[in-house]
Amino acid sequence: MKRMMVVAFVVTLALAFVFFLSAAMLELAPAAIDLRVPVSAHLTESGVSHPVTAVLLNYRGYDTLLEIAVLLLALVAILAVVGEAPVAPSRAAHPVLQTLGRLVTPLMVVVAVYLLWAGAFRPGGAFQAGAVLAAAAVLLHLVGLLAGWSSPRLRLRIGLAAGFALFLAVAAALLKQGSLLQYPPDAAGTLILLIECGLTVSLALILAGLFLFLAREEGA
C-alpha cells in the first residue's frame, strides 16, 4: 500500500514536471544573445568550415580538453575497480560471424579515417571516428578474434594518454597567445587536425578499453 502511494506520487510529480516544462519551453523567449552570429562571423579564422567542429575544437576547445580528461579518468577508475582479474579467453564464434568481422573491420577503419577528415567541413570529427574504431575492436572481441585486455603495459598506456597529452601540449604552447587554446588563425586548421588525430587514437583505445578491460572472468 505504501509502495503504491510512492509510485503514484512519483508518477504525478513526473507528469506535472513534463507539463510545466513543456509550457515553459513553448513560452520561451528568443535568447538574448544569439550565438549563431559570432560563430558564423569568425568561422573563416577558426581553421575549419563546419560550425560544430569550430565550437568543439576552437571557440570552446577547453571543454573538449576536459572531456578527454574525464574519459581518461573513467578508464583509470575502471582499471582500479577490476584490478588484476584473469582475462577471459575469447570464445570462438561461428565461422560466418568471424568472416563477417574480418570483412567489416577494414571498412570501419576506412570510415573512421573519412569521418576524421570530414570533420573539418561537415558532420564528423575525432569523437565519431574514435567511436567507430572502438566499435570495430568490440566487434572483433565479440566474434572471438581479439582477446580481452589485461592491465595495460607501457605502449598501451602511452596510446591511452597520447590524445590528452598532445592536446595539453598544444594548449600550453599556445598560452602566450593570451587565452587558453586561442590558435593563431593561419595555423588553426593544422593544429586542429593534429589534435583530432591524437584524440582519435586515444578515444578509440579508451572507448575500446571501457569494454575490453571489463571482459574478465565472471566473479573475479
Binding site: 510529480l13 560563430v39 560544430v52 571501457l210
Partner: protein, 100 residues
C-alpha cells in the same frame, strides 16, 4: 510549433521517465538505463531548443556531443561498479534500508 519543439518536449518527457525510473527501480542495471534515459532527454531538450528557429545554433550541439561522450564514460564506470558489487555480494541491488 516547429519540429525543434517536438524534440524538446519529447526530451522533457524522457527526462521525467528516467528520473521516475531512478527513484522507483531498485535493480541497478535498470537504474543505469534510467540514468541514460534522463541524459538522452536532457540532450534532446538542448538540441531541440537550439533549432526551434530555422537555423540550428551550433554551440548547444557541440555541448551535447561533449555530453554524450561523458555519459558513455559514466555509464561504463557505473557498469564496472555494478559488476564489482555482483562479484562481491552476488546481487545487483543495493541493500534495502528497511530499518528506518
Amino acid at each position: 510549433m516547429t519540429t525543434g519543439f517536438v524534440f524538446a518536449i519529447t526530451g522533457g518527457a524522457l527526462f521525467a521517465l528516467g528520473a521516475a525510473g531512478i527513484v522507483l527501480i531498485g535493480d541497478l542495471m535498470r537504474r543505469i538505463l534510467a540514468f541514460n534515459l534522463m541524459g538522452s532527454g536532457a540532450f534532446l531538450v538542448l538540441v531541440g531548443l537550439a533549432q526551434r528557429y530555422d537555423v540550428a545554433d551550433p554551440v548547444p550541439h557541440a555541448m551535447v556531443l561533449t555530453g554524450i561522450v561523458v555519459a558513455v564514460a559514466a555509464t561504463a564506470l557505473a557498469l564496472a561498479l555494478v559488476r564489482k558489487l555482483h562479484a562481491l555480494t552476488g546481487e545487483i541491488e543495493l541493500p534495502d534500508d528497511a530499518d528506518e
